[in-house]
């Protein structure tokens, strides 16, 4: 599955890992994360992420 990178701080969202601390289970595609989720490192909104090249 496609990884996404935070344009603000460089954090990489890896669907295989998810973001368990913030209620996103491993295996969740980026598109399926709730819209109010924010970058766990810097707090940037979901729309600040870009597909990782």
């Amino acid at each position: 599955m496609q990884k996404y990178v935070c344009d603000v701080c460089g954090y990489v969202y890896d669907p295989a890992v998810g973001d368990e601390d913030n209620g996103v289970a491993a295996g969740t595609a980026f598109e399926d994360i709730p819209d109010d989720w924010v970058c766990p490192v810097c707090g940037a909104a979901k729309d600040a992420f870009s597909p990782m090249e």
Binding site: C9, C42, G43, A44
Partner: protein, 405 residues
């Protein structure tokens, strides 16, 4: 015995208890030509609160200033707004000495303090927007993530309307004067601009949002007290510094160009001079910076309000000159936006550097403003005329760019 270092009152029962670093000139790669201060603040009351500490070598100065008004052991709470070591370096030892009822940090700050010092006991994480009544005072904690670290936090002392803004609205400037209105405005504006360019620029979108959020919050400020440089207490000064930050965060291009270069046998330098003549002739305020004599952090300061960056490099052993790689790598990390640019340089054989500079500008999302100019060995009068024309063309492109962005 009289104290050499004393607390300086900034409001009734509120003291500056920081340290003045007159000698520092290299702050993690940022040239601090005027030194700096590490500001810590002490709020006296039923439960005295210490906001931040100082860089470790200056701990004695902090403690002596505190001791001039209160026994440090009487401090009830410590607030750690930012875990970077210029503010937290003394924290573990101060916590050990003071044994506060609690030390407050943001959620990310709690993690960062653990990672820096192994400090886990006694640090209480506070959430964004959390209010705490501490004795007869009320403190509101506001997360300022990535301004400029994940843990960055502001603390607002509600009963005094003072914002302890940590690194925001600060500058590296050593002085005994504690208030901005006691210092020369031109120096303040330059050092504030330099601080923004070198520390905050990559997070400009967040700065714009934060200022809008604060504007809507209805919070009133009697003072903004940062952790470096002077305190802003006059309402016109508070408006000025927040207005400047807003303008810098938007990065609207201006009719200003920075020509930066290095040179081996003065050929690229002569090209740089000719390029700058063309830019100036085209109505552009142009600053020429040789990397032999300019610091990368001074270049970043000039780029902050520029609209064009024109970079020249000789080719050394098939690569761009190392000082150019340094400054361009540094600028790339700062993510300046809304720039046009181009590359030039002299070479003996190979001549790869100019293309490498162009590739770097492209990575920086700088809009191309002209075909590169390369000269083998030494520029002739014709070559210099070509450089001048190159500068004129970039000027025309920039004027157009300023109208469209």
């Amino acid at each position: 015995m009289d104290k050499t270092f004393r607390a300086v009152p900034i409001a009734k029962d509120i003291y500056w208890v920081g340290a003045i670093d007159w000698t520092i000139r290299n702050f993690h790669g940022y040239a601090t030509h005027r030194g700096t201060t590490y500001n810590a603040y002490l709020a006296l009351g039923e439960k005295p609160i210490l906001f931040d500490t100082v860089k470790r070598p200056h701990m004695d100065e902090l403690l002596e200033r505190i001791s001039s008004v209160i026994d440090p052991k009487d401090i009830s709470y410590i607030v750690s707004n930012h875990s970077e070591m210029d503010h937290s370096g003394s924290l573990p030892e101060v916590m050990e000495l003071v044994k506060p009822e609690a030390t407050f940090a943001s959620v990310m700050g709690q993690k960062a303090l653990a990672a820096h010092f192994g400090v886990t006991d006694g640090v209480t994480a506070v959430k964004d927007g959390e209010r705490r009544t501490l004795g007869n005072r009320e403190v509101l904690f506001l997360e300022a993530r990535m301004l400029h670290w994940p843990d960055s936090m502001f603390s607002y002392l509600g009963d005094k309307k003072i914002l302890f803004s940590n690194d925001a609205f600060g500058m590296h400037l050593a002085s005994h004067e504690r208030f901005a209105d006691e210092l020369p405005p031109a120096v303040l504006e330059y050092e504030a601009k330099k601080y923004y360019a070198n520390i905050l620029l990559p997070y400009s979108n967040l700065v714009t949002k934060l200022l809008e959020r604060v504007g809507k919050s209805g919070l009133e400020f009697s003072m903004i007290a940062p952790d470096h440089g002077p305190v802003w207490r006059r309402s016109d000064d508070i408006s000025k510094i927040t207005g400047l930050w807003h303008a810098w965060s938007l990065q609207a291009p201006q009719k200003k160009a920075v020509v930066l270069y290095d040179t081996m046998w003065n050929s690229t330098e002569r090209m740089a001079r000719a390029v700058s003549e063309g830019l100036a002739d085209g109505g552009i305020h142009t600053v020429v910076m040789s990397m032999e004599s300019s610091h990368r952090s001074d270049v970043a300061t000039e780029v902050l309000d520029a609209g064009a960056i024109v970079a020249g490099s000789p080719t050394l052993n098939n690569n761009m000159f190392p000082t150019m790689a340094d400054v361009l790598t540094y600028l790339k990390g700062l993510r300046p936006r809304n720039l046009v640019g181009a590359a030039f340089g002299s070479y003996g054989w190979g001549g790869e550097a100019v293309g490498q500079v162009e590739a770097m500008l492209e990575e920086m999302k700088v809009e191309p403003a002209g075909e590169q100019v390369r000269v083998q060995y030494v520029p002739t009068q014709e070559d210099l005329a070509r450089c001048r024309e190159f500068g004129r063309n970039i000027a025309a492109k920039l004027v157009q760019f300023c109208e469209t962005v």
